[in-house]
Symmetry: C2
Amino acid sequence: MSRAVDVLFERISVLSPDESGGAYALTDAYVAVRAGRIACVGLTRDHAAAAFDGAPHETYDGRDRILAPALANAHGHAAMTLMRNSADDLSLHDWLYNVIFPRETRLRAEDVRAGTRLALVEMVRSGTGAAADMYFFPDEVFEAFVEAGVRLNLCVDAKKKDAAGNPVLDAAELERFQRLARTAGRGLVVPSLLVHSVYLYPEPLYKEMADLAADLGAPVQVHVSETRREVRECQEKHGRTPPEFLRERGFFRTPTLAAHCVHLHGDDLRILAGPGITVAHNPQSNLKLGSGIADVHAMVRAGLRVALGTDGAASNNNLDLFRELRLAAFLAKGTTGEAATLGAPMALRMATVHGAAGMGFPDVGVLEAGHAADLLVLDCERASMTPLGDPMSAFVYSADASAVESVMVDGRWVMRKRELTTLDEERIRAEALSAAHHLVPALT
Amino acid sequence: MSRAVDVLFERISVLSPDESGGAYALTDAYVAVRAGRIACVGLTRDHAAAAFDGAPHETYDGRDRILAPALANAHGHAAMTLMRNSADDLSLHDWLYNVIFPRETRLRAEDVRAGTRLALVEMVRSGTGAAADMYFFPDEVFEAFVEAGVRLNLCVDAKKKDAAGNPVLDAAELERFQRLARTAGRGLVVPSLLVHSVYLYPEPLYKEMADLAADLGAPVQVHVSETRREVRECQEKHGRTPPEFLRERGFFRTPTLAAHCVHLHGDDLRILAGPGITVAHNPQSNLKLGSGIADVHAMVRAGLRVALGTDGAASNNNLDLFRELRLAAFLAKGTTGEAATLGAPMALRMATVHGAAGMGFPDVGVLEAGHAADLLVLDCERASMTPLGDPMSAFVYSADASAVESVMVDGRWVMRKRELTTLDEERIRAEALSAAHHLVPALT
């Protein structure tokens, strides 16, 4: 983990969500970062420089550059990078049962560490400063993120087996991670309760899980209404949609990341508009696995907080949030037949402040004085961003991950001018290749 | 324009459409390029090297690299790069009438040259070796492409005004470009007749245009069924869909690039499956302008040749075909609800050989001995392509434009190891900025 730096960004274009539900753009601006916070955003050098009280600080030439909040990936399975490009164009059932599950039975702690680190390199290079993660071996995920200096909403599986082999809940495991987050986590980690979905556990466990989350004040991560089949089976079994079922069992009393929400019906929009709930929209994964197209326009109109996720690299096959934010805007326009639907400012909000807030980082995602210094710098000196035009449009419609030149989290550089400061890319790629090799049953 | 080079690619992964409607992948392969053609694709160095008969040649280390045909952009308006990011999130009518048309009235020949060159930098950097172009000032477009060494299907407007101010056809203009293509074009340019759409010209002109194309053996470029409104108005006015109207007027006797085809009905699929017709699918533009989602799965099943286009950078806002080929596959899967729909091999075909053939370059887009040496090299040494997995999946689902390190057209490097050989990027960006500035009415 690198140390916090004080930086004055000079003559830079600034894009950011604001605190009133919109977004702003400034050109030729000055931004002071001091002691891990945004100290000043202004249009004159003198005003911004005054924030340092004469203390030494780095300057960053912002000409042909855009400064924006670091991106927040609200749903993913980082270590699935190890299964990238290994099984595409297969139906969901074939993919899960014949490729993914057999490999996951072979997963060791060291594989998850290697795959998570690989994901971290990819995420940082594409401008991501915070990610939600739902996978195995949470200790490894925790350490990899803290070591990298990237924020994390970490799923913890609180199930264990009793003497008869039945799943029961174990509050101690979740409490252990809550303690870890307060100490080793240095403010970067929020542990949450893993609730995979409405279809995976014995029915009595759902109420117990909801109560455990409420008792410990723990957020929840859960897959919700990803496929038509999930919704149909939930209705057949419980007479309720997945959001209705979860509410009825006592969920949504703590902050909840509800991933996917592709197929919503009846009262679902109203339920998911409740306080503390964030929908993690994964447009690429939903298309690629044939799940469908979530109606994000309806969600936004109904007041839901919609964030963006990449899902795992095995169903995407990339962790680049620029693809997701552009596609989210495109799909909303294409499916409503109206180019004005879901404009660039809302896409920016979804990719930044909505995700950060949904993960439990309420002071992240807005570049205004007093907020955390989580940010990225885009290099716009390239044909594909010439002329730059409206920087908000450029960010959402023209930019891609390769334009990201710097990323800061909590006032610390994690990438500066394309140099990673906390991750050894060459070694990480080599270790990931070795772990990926181990997972393939036929090869070992 | 650079000179043709002889090159031996060593230990490289090769992806290519084949001649039987599928695609193949080889790893650790050797490919010999000699005198502008693919001389050999094989699995041993000796066999491939024999193609040079002892003559000197360059070698290219292909480890961690993918060799594939250069991409073909089957629909675009290159110089609209000048209007990039200038008017987004607007309804189609506002966008056209309040932003685009006022700027286009100010276009000078030098602006089109500057904007086309800017597009060429962006296209080459993202792996494109051939493009169809429909815009103003075709002499400028012709020169910019030939100078860059990139293949072109060039729209020529054969209309002029008679003494009374009515549009009449002028065969001489199209014939002039046919002669130019044979001389200065050096095999890189195919002129085609501009037929903007079924709604822009006086009705009698359509039959005359179809006859002119047939008389001169000229291909046609035309926008077809892009919006619901276009189709509805054509049916109201002519009692026919746009494809039916065009066929009835005598089109489709020469090769035709039919752009968009978002809203097809009745007999349209059968008409567009006719010989010589290529549909240019523009998934990003169709979503962004709210036009809708073309049913590419139905087209492919009906035997249509579907290629890919970016449309202009004002409605996209980028000329990166990797985005289009991935999105084409994703949309087909998402809308059919089946992950197996439109697999990576078909996406590769659409982005390469279908476009090249549709533009009039029948020996381009297939890496087999005897075909033209139009190719690209992807650098896969990056976290986002680790592990590489199946190279076909990696190309379609993981790669983005920033992985393109080299592009060759007709045996000549246009980019080698990220160095452009025919385009002066810095000067081109400066000239484009100046031209873009000129187009904005309020600024000059």
